[in-house]
């Protein structure tokens, strides 16, 4: 589904990613963990197609296609979804209107008929129950005045409506209390299926108690330095990133 090969990215002339390799197959859940400033969010943004990230080397193939050649909206229509770490407040655009416009843009892209208001509402009601989302949030402007937890929940709610093939969650757990975390994880788990892949970018192991990954990768200083199963996350939790970083430095020193 997703093949990242030797990805190098600079932001404002600073090298952030320095040769990332990652292979994600349908049905898998991958977690990318790492300390602050390791390049986790950069990776998430590059996947979604944000401006200002210069790919200097490497390729990203998504379902065999060159992802980097696609505009952000094209990626979304092809099934890539980024749950933002900091969802943007958009005053004046009604949440329901926005979601319906987004869903219909994607349906149109695939040559499907647009959903009418009635069908859309039925879909919304069903997903609202799943994510314990209040009507109130949908009738307000997108994210405007939402609490941190409401914003994150709204991201997962959008994901549930848009049904992406590849979902990238950028620190969706940060700032959530345990109840909200469970709800969000429940929403993500409901989306797990053999034809979908999920990449969970997180700083903390906590979320992975609820969204159990198949693979865990540790990103340090722009490179994936260690990969393993879900137990790697627990190891990181008990020993902290410092241990991995020290291990890397030792390895780097040894190779010189």
């Amino acid at each position: 589904m997703l093949e990242i090969r030797n990805l190098h990215v600079t932001v404002n002339n600073r090298k952030i990613l320095k040769g990332v390799n990652l292979s994600v197959k349908p049905g898998e859940v991958h977690s990318i963990m790492g300390p602050n400033g390791s390049g986790k969010s950069t990776l998430a943004h590059v996947l979604a197609g944000r401006d200002g990230y210069a790919v200097t080397e490497g390729t990203i193939l998504y379902r065999g296609k060159d992802l980097l050649a696609m505009a952000p909206e094209e990626r979304a229509c092809e099934g890539v979804f980024l749950a933002f770490q900091y969802p943007v407040e958009i005053p004046g655009i009604n949440g329901t209107y926005f979601l319906k416009a987004a869903l219909n843009a994607i349906r149109k892209y695939h040559g499907q008929e647009e959903l009418d208001a009635m069908d859309f509402l039925a879909l919304v009601k069903q997903k609202m129950k799943l994510l314990d989302v209040d009507d109130r949030l949908l009738n307000r402007s997108v994210n405007e005045g939402f609490s941190g937890g409401e914003k994150k929940r709204n991201e997962i709610f959008q994901m549930a409506i848009l049904q992406p093939s590849l979902a990238v969650l950028d620190e969706t757990d940060s700032g959530l209390d345990i109840d909200a975390l469970k709800v969000v994880a429940g929403g993500v788990n409901a989306l797990r299926s053999p034809d979908r892949a999920i990449v969970v970018v997180t700083h903390y192991q906590r979320l992975l108690n609820y969204i159990v990954p198949d693979f865990v990768h540790v990103l340090v200083d722009g490179r994936i330095v260690k990969s393993g199963g879900k137990e790697l996350a627990l190891e990181l939790e008990s020993q902290g990133y410092a241990a991995v970083e020290a291990e890397c430095r030792a390895l780097a020193a040894a190779s010189i």
């Binding site: 979604a48 944000r50 952000p72 979304a76 958009i90 004046g92 843009a105």
Partner: protein, 455 residues
């Protein structure tokens, strides 16, 4: 070199002034101005005032950002009386679906009864000002020219000197008008530059509720000059909303003034939407004369190309416990120039005044320009006055957010612009007016057509 230029433009301005003096003398002789002889002293005083000050220049503080020399230098004439009346189809595109109430239509400044429907609502008198000058003489003598003072503004002086027709609306105490009154000012703009000086007098008694829509349009593409003045009196405890829509052609010069006078505990909501015109100046001068009054001035201006739009506010708090709000939003594209000039004057006795002023602008191009100037004059000591202005571009984070959900960049931008304008439109409570304005605004936006059919 500079000296020569200045003197050349001064000569042209003087020539402009001389033309108006000559027109005035002609009108006096022809007797059009003497149809209401009682008005003559008012006209003559206004003309004298205009002759003394002439057209304003950018050296005048109140006109610093707006150069009216194109108006001063163009030779305008009153449009000749049309050989045949305008057919109803001609104005059909300008009607608001769902507005079934009273409508007065003016063609090139003159009342067109066959296009109008004055209806018969209880408590409401609506007629052309030209008729009212004789038929309602005693009321007009009391009110006409009492509020809009020519000494404040040369264009107001010019309007008063040349006023011929407009709307006269009188709503008696306790009347609740269901439907808004639509005042439609059509310029045929077919040939040589024409001018009109619409003058409106709107009087509402105690406990009235009413909405008035002034709507300025052009049929042709020719140059024309509209110089309108509206005097609006809101009685005790009245709730009045006023809409001003400028959608004339891109050659039009449009100067307008709303002078409102509010009695005790009254509420006035004044909305202004500027889309059309080449050079537009919207003057608003509300005076909160009675205690406990409230005034909201809600404005949206969207110049593009080479359009120039100037919003000039002078909000006067003359009594205690009054609230005023000015909320102006500008969306400027191309080489457009926008101005927001908001002056709040709090008189000595107007304690507990709460006055707030906000001006938010989006610049869509490098060459678009906005001058935003707040001004507070406070003579009372227990007041709350705040102002703020912002100038920015479209939020690219928001564009990316929308695109990341599948919307194209063009749709994302159109949606964000509409959302920005939408905050102004939402304040408009009269549904048929708001809906039509939403449509007009989205059509006016760059790529606003993309928003169609999305709802």
């Amino acid at each position: 070199m500079t000296t020569t230029l200045v003197s050349a433009s001064q000569t042209r301005a003087a020539a402009g002034l001389a033309r108006y003096l000559q027109r005035f003398a002609e009108a006096e002789r022809a007797g059009t101005a003497t149809s209401a002889a009682w008005l003559m002293p008012l006209r003559r005083a206004a003309m004298d005032r205009f002759a003394a000050v002439g057209f304003p220049t950018t050296r005048d503080e109140d006109w610093r950002f707006t150069n009216v020399s194109p108006i001063a230098q163009t030779e305008f004439r009153a449009a000749p009386t049309a050989p045949a009346p305008l057919p109803a189809e001609a104005i059909a595109p300008f009607l608001f679906p769902g507005l079934e109430g009273v409508r007065l239509v003016f063609v090139d400044g003159r009342f067109a009864p066959h296009l109008s429907s004055t209806g018969a609502a209880a408590g409401l008198v609506v007629r052309s000002l030209a008729e009212a000058l004789t038929a309602e003489r005693s009321v007009l003598q009391l009110h006409l020219g009492r509020y809009a003072e020519p000494q404040h503004d040369p264009f107001c002086a010019l309007n008063t000197a040349f006023l011929e027709d407009g709307a006269y609306v009188s709503i008696s105490a306790g009347t609740l008008l269901e439907d808004p009154i639509h005042l439609l000012y059509v310029s045929t703009a077919a040939g040589a530059p024409t001018m009109a000086h619409p003058r409106n007098l709107i009087l509402t008694g105690e406990n009235c509720q009413a909405a008035i829509l002034e709507d300025y349009v052009s049929l042709g593409e020719g140059v024309h000059f509209t110089n309108s003045v509206t005097e609006l009196v809101v009685g005790d405890n009245g709730v009045v909303s006023h809409y001003h829509l400028e959608r004339e052609n891109r050659q039009a010069f449009h100067i307008s003034r709303l002078r409102s006078e509010q009695a005790r505990s009254s509420t006035l909501t004044s909305h202004s939407v500027l889309l059309g015109g080449a050079l537009v100046r919207r003057n608003m001068h509300p005076i909160l004369a009675g205690e406990g009054g409230e005034c909201l001035i809600n404005g949206l201006f969207m110049p593009r190309g080479r359009q120039h739009m100037d919003n000039f506010m002078r909000v006067e708090h003359a009594s205690p416990h009054c609230d005023s709000r000015q909320v102006f939003k500008g969306i400027l594209d191309g080489q457009a120039h926008g101005v927001f000039h908001g002056r709040i004057i709090v008189h000595k006795d107007a304690q507990k005044t709460d006055a707030k002023q906000t001006n938010m602008n989006l610049l869509l191009s490098e060459e678009a320009q906005i001058d935003s100037k707040p001004q507070l004059e406070i003579y009372a000591d227990d007041v709350k006055c705040t102002h703020g202005a912002t100038i920015g571009q479209i939020n690219e984070d928001a564009v990316f957010y929308l695109r990341s959900r599948g919307l194209s960049a063009a749709v994302a931008r159109a949606l964000l612009l509409f959302a920005f304008a939408g905050e102004s439109l939402k304040r408009m409570k009269v549904a048929p007016v708001r809906r039509r304005l939403e449509q007009l605004v989205s059509e006016w936006l760059p790529q606003g057509n993309l928003l169609e059919g999305m709802d």
